[in-house]
């Protein structure tokens, strides 16, 4: 569920404060829910009085059924009201949790957007996605069950005390006498029960992880002919875990045992003392019966709070991941920003250097000047800095923006959106969003007509297969939509870029071996586009490189060679090495 180890006590306090701070969207609803729940408890106390009195009157005052209807009718009313209050209170507390979750997710998304794509990449998409999805959902029980249960554990015993004192101060004293047990229970529940729950769930999840890990690697186990061995392993490990967990639980359950014991003893104590007071006539039966009815209710909220401890722990563990995101430093762009003046006449970098924190990888002293149109290729080993360079040019690395000059203005002085809107970009694995083909294309140009969509699709060689999709341009794409091949995704992304018709097209050429038809098509399309636009490409294919007007070879964050294919090939440098390894055709 969460990527963090269990938070310690100091962290827990911080995390609970965080969860409280971010509950404002539902805090009023939660208060209403708690109010209704407390009203329910008050009505419960009232109905106990009614029952006790009715029973008392019948038993000891020889009253008939008719004589006590004045008590039974209100009792029925109270029961009905309690049912309504209980249902409403639960409903509202869950509704509050929904609101808080939605707001939390919204806040996190907005923050991630401000932090930019690099942040979540470094954290890992998977981990961030888990925080956004399951992590936020894990807050549900915290807000809906745990927080109200904390309030009830303080409010309801207090209400019972306050009401019972005026009726019979001696009975009140009994409760007050057993009340010091409450903090004791609190500590017992708070520290011990939490540990029990924690251990139980941890053991279970370790066991679960082992099993699912093997399930994930099942194919490999088959290939190693190791499934039978692993089966014995799973059985053995499950059994080992059972034995070790049980020996922990044997001790851990003792605290729960103590709690039960004290709760039972307290109720028994109340019963016995009242019994004798009744016997000696110092108490009327109605009051005694009320006290007996209320005694279990007095301790119930505390015991219930114990059952929500897992929700509490899940909630604050999930919060640990969220607080990281919310508190991450944003690099705020400088206040004065101007719009980019058009047309774009020059793009260059001046001593561009950039390093990732805690890493030696990056770029150093890159000086480039791009023409307004033409095909410029970048090659180099993985880790040479090609993607970093592209991210800098796209304006995703704030620190590098001062070294990128557009029309004589450094990028840091510009509103980054006014720069980015002139760039179309296609990554190695383009994202097709969960929407229709047409909507995906219209990201490039919101007001594109159907004819324009089709035209772009033709240019990218995508029209043919789009038309064979079940709903043509209206077919839903994405993880849960129509499954497309890698080549088809590339072509849709290409069409999207063409539709934008930006003066600059940047693409990271697919390095996967797509079918040769797609490769040729993409190649000729970009060569064509480069005739009157600037195309920057991280190239992986020979044809792209031979077509390029200019090639930059990167190594360890530096540019080591530059020129067209013929020139560089004859230099017998890095490019020659890379090309020579595969194609010894010259």
């Amino acid at each position: 569920m969460t990527t963090k180890p269990r938070p310690d006590r100091a962290q827990q306090i911080k995390l609970r404060a965080f969860l409280k701070q971010y509950s404002h969207s539902g805090s009023r609803l939660l208060k209403v829910s708690i109010l209704l729940g407390t009203l329910n408890a008050l009505l419960m106390i009232a109905s106990c009085y009614l029952i006790a009195n009715a029973v008392h009157l019948v038993m000891f005052a020889d009253k008939q059924l008719d004589d006590i209807t004045y008590l039974l009718w209100p009792l029925a009313g109270l029961i009905l009201l309690r049912a309504v209050f209980l249902a409403l209170s639960e409903r509202i507390s869950h509704f509050a949790a929904q609101k808080i979750k939605n707001t939390m997710r919204k806040t996190l998304l907005a923050k991630l957007n401000r932090l930019g794509p690099i942040y979540s990449e470094q954290k890992g998409h998977g981990a961030t996605l888990n925080t956004l999805h399951n992590g936020v959902e894990a807050l549900h029980q915290y807000y809906a069950n745990y927080l109200p249960s904390v309030a009830y554990s303080a409010l309801i015993p207090l209400a019972i005390l306050v009401i019972i004192f005026p009726t019979d101060y001696k009975a009140g004293l009994i409760f007050l006498f057993t009340a010091p047990l409450i903090p004791f229970f609190m500590i017992l529940v708070g520290h011990k029960a939490e540990e029990i729950n924690q251990q139980r769930w941890q053991q279970l999840s370790v066991l679960g992880n082992y099993f699912f890990d093997r399930l994930n690697g099942l194919t490999q186990l088959k290939l190693f002919n190791a499934t039978r061995r692993e089966l014995a392993n799973i059985a053995k490990i499950s059994d080992d875990f059972r034995t070790s967990t049980m020996s922990v639980l044997k001790i851990a359950f003792l605290s729960a045992f103590a709690l039960e014991f004290f709760a039972t003893i307290s109720v028994a104590l109340v019963a016995v003392i009242i019994g004798f007071r009744l016997f000696f006539g110092t108490l009327d039966f109605a009051t005694g019966f009320v006290v007996l009815l209320l005694a279990p209710e007095f301790y119930l909220p505390l015991r219930q709070m114990g059952t929500h401890y897992h929700a509490r722990l899940e909630g604050i563990s999930a919060a640990a991941d969220m607080i990281d995101i919310i508190n991450a430093d944003e690099e705020l762009p400088p206040a004065q920003q101007t719009k980019l003046s058009l047309p774009i006449q020059s793009i260059s970098t001046k001593q561009l250097s950039f390093y990732y924190p805690q890493s030696k990888e990056g770029l150093s002293n890159i000086n480039l000047a791009f023409p307004v149109k033409g095909l410029v290729a970048f090659i180099g080993d993985s880790g040479a800095g090609k993607s970093t360079l592209f991210d800098c040019l796209l304006g995703f690395h704030q620190q590098a923006n001062s070294q990128i000059i557009i029309n004589d203005t450094p990028l840091c002085k510009l509103d980054s959106q006014s720069w980015q809107q002139h760039i179309a970009w296609i990554p190695q694995q383009p994202t097709l969003f969960y929407m229709s083909v047409a909507e995906n294309l219209r990201l490039g140009k919101a007001d594109a007509t159907q004819a324009q969509l089709e035209q772009a699709a033709i240019k990218a060689g995508a029209l043919e297969f789009i038309q064979t999709l079940p709903q043509g341009f209206d077919t839903l794409l994405g993880e849960h939509g129509e499954g497309l091949s890698g080549g088809q995704k590339q072509r849709i992304a290409l069409a999207r870029a063409f539709l934008k018709n930006a003066p600059i097209l940047m693409l990271d050429e697919p390095s996967a071996h797509l079918d040769s038809q797609t490769e040729k098509l993409i190649n000729s399309a970009i060569v064509d586009y480069a005739k009157d636009h600037l195309v920057l490409v991280i190239a992986h294919r020979l044809n792209t490189i031979t077509n390029a007007d200019n090639i930059y070879v990167l190594e360890q964050g530096k540019i080591i060679e530059q020129g067209n294919y013929q020139q560089l090939y004859q230099q017998h440098g890095k490019l020659w090495q890379l090309a020579h390894a595969g194609a010894q055709h010259d």
Partner: protein, 577 residues
């Protein structure tokens, strides 16, 4: 119902433990009910005695109360221990059974297209069954035993009250929860869809963050996410709303039942048909009797989802065919050739992955499979490994004794002869040594270290503080793709089988390491038959022959050098920067 019975059969080996847990749970419940009822009676009797100023033997009831309190607390403790133990036992039973089933199915039956889907579904299903005993079976058994006992006592005092109470117990414990369970089982599917949609939207906004920024569509996508989030939560809220209603309803029924029983009993007290103290006792008894169904609603709510999880697992189990091919021959682990004859393979009626593939590989020959993605390379390997069944044509092993159809081999024999380093290599959660020993369980530590050195992991291993005992995988040290690749190669080196298949063995290795790995592999495996899937020119140039696949057919068979000379398409296929 059949699934329920099959689930019970799974429980059978631990029936003793399960029943002991149920017995203790029942004891706890009954002691608790008795405790409340007798306390009520005790108070009433004491009050009555006090008013009448008669002596009363309060020692016996006080003793009973004490006794029940102790029974209750002690059996509660024992119950918790036993039921948890039983849960763990059953959990292990279910996992072993699921794993056994999955390991016997071939991968096509598991899931034609997306095996990740199946694994995550299995995870949910097994999770749903983890608490089958604790949350479903136990409350049902407790209710089945304790309700009759409670009813017996109650009807001895007053059958009408017992009848009223019984009806209420059924409504609260069975009817309402069964209705909810049925309803939730239906909405659960929708909830899962909404959850998946939300996940997809969130995933889109993370993975596509750059594209969204460049297309100025971040805000639009964030709106989509917020909408999906709200929609998902609306579905959850429906479920919680229904639960809240049922909680309110349960309270209503419980309290009204007590009120009803008071109304039934009051005239009887007035007419002196029953002792007045029994009114106090019965009203508490009725209230306490609802303890017998305390956990039953949850059981019935979870029952349908547990049953459908079980149904999916059993469905897979039923796919296991009994007619296992009897192995007829035993092939020795000596140099072997392979013959693929007329191999066709179709995913479905439209998509043909391989057609009319004929390949002969001689013993000890080193061949490479080359072709764009989707050309059928992996399919061919999956057929050879037996992960997928051969649909048409045959695969034979060529040994000195002659050719043998690979289907005649036992699984043990087949995997003794074959080593396959798949492209998707799974690093298991466990130590490095454990990971390596999956390939060769009997290997000594020295052999493991040698294999690591041969796979160019020597310096990495040397700087690991825990050496071979370093924990890897999800909970351990993360390995880079290049390291994972080399661990896979080390495993292959340990296996010493006649045929070795390496799928992209040099991917994500830097140039120097690549050289060294290729050299050692070719050296150590000189007398093995090797098939590699690769586009790496360095590796290709060490191969005896290249088999070039395209669209499921063999386009050319020749040496790397001759293909470079004659085929421009081949040059662009294998030249990558």
């Amino acid at each position: 119902m059949t699934n329920f019975i099959r689930l019970l059969k799974l429980c059978k080996p631990h029936a003793g433990m399960l029943l002991l847990g149920a017995f203790l749970s029942t004891l706890t419940v009954l002691a608790n009910v008795g405790l409340l009822a007798i306390s009520g009676w005790f108070l009433a009797a004491m009050a009555a005695a006090g008013i009448a100023s008669v002596h009363m033997n309060y020692f016996t009831p006080a003793g009973v109360i004490r006794f029940l309190a102790i029974v209750r607390t002690a059996s509660r403790y024992g119950e918790r221990l036993i039921t948890h133990n039983a849960t763990f036992l059953l959990l292990s039973e279910i996992r072993v059974s699921v794993f056994a089933t999955l390991s016997k199915l071939n991968n096509v039956d598991l899931a034609m297209s997306r095996s990740a889907d199946l694994v995550s579904r299995m995870q949910d299903d097994v999770d749903a069954l983890d608490t089958f005993y604790l949350n479903v079976l136990l409350p049902i058994i407790v209710a089945l035993i304790s309700i009759p006992v409670v009813m017996l006592f109650m009807s001895a005092y007053n059958p009408n009250v017992a009848l009223l109470c019984f009806s209420s117990l059924m409504i609260v414990g069975v009817v309402v929860p069964a209705f909810l369970g049925h309803k939730f089982n239906k909405t659960a599917a929708q909830e899962r869809v909404q959850s998946a949609l939300l996940r997809a939207q969130l995933s889109d906004s993370l993975k596509g963050a750059r594209e969204l920024a460049l297309y100025q569509a971040s805000a639009q996508q964030r709106n989509q996410c917020n909408k999906a989030s709200e929609l998902y939560n609306q579905h959850i809220q429906k479920r919680h709303g229904a639960l809240a209603n049922s909680d309110g309803f349960t309270l209503l029924i419980t309290q009204l039942t007590m009120l009803g029983s008071i109304i039934i009993l009051v005239p009887l007290v007035s007419s002196a048909e029953i002792a007045n103290v029994e009114l106090a006792m019965m009203s508490l008894f009725v209230l306490a009797s609802f303890e017998t169904v305390l956990n039953l609603p949850n059981a019935f709510i979870q029952l349908p989802s547990a049953l459908s999880a079980a149904a999916r697992i059993f469905e897979l189990e039923d796919k296991l065919s009994d007619d296992v091919d009897k192995p007829t021959v035993d092939v020795k682990n000596l140099p072997l050739g392979i013959n693929f004859t007329d191999i066709d393979y179709c995913y479905n009626t439209q998509n043909s992955a391989l057609s009319k593939v004929n390949i002969t590989i001689k013993a000890k020959q080193k061949i490479a499979l080359v072709g764009p993605s989707g050309s059928g390379k992996s399919t061919l390997i999956n057929l050879l490994s037996g992960l997928w069944p051969v649909q048409h044509g045959q695969i034979e092993l060529l040994s000195e004794q002659g050719s043998i159809n690979i289907n005649q081999l036992s699984t043990d024999n087949r995997y003794e002869l074959l080593t396959i380093v798949a492209q998707q290599h799974h690093i298991f959660d466990g130590t490095l040594a454990q990971n390596l020993r999956y390939a060769m369980p009997t290997a000594s530590d020295e052999a493991l270290i040698r294999a690591c050195e041969q796979a160019q992991l020597g310096s990495w291993l040397a700087q690991l503080p825990d050496g071979l005992k370093t924990r890897l995988g999800t909970a351990g040290r993360t390995v880079s793709q290049g390291q994972a690749r080399r661990i896979a190669i080390a495993q292959a080196l340990l296996r010493n089988s006649a045929i070795v298949v390496l799928d992209e063995p040099t991917e994500s290795l830097d140039n120097q390491t690549k050289h060294a790995v290729i050299d050692t592999v070719m050296n150590v495996m000189a007398d093995k038959t090797i098939i590699t899937i690769t586009h790496d020119p360095q590796l290709l140039s060490t191969m005896d022959q290249v088999i070039w696949l395209e669209n499921g057919e063999v386009r050319a068979v020749n040496s790397h050098q001759s293909l470079l000379k004659t085929e421009p398409d081949y040059i662009s296929l294998v030249t990558r920067f």
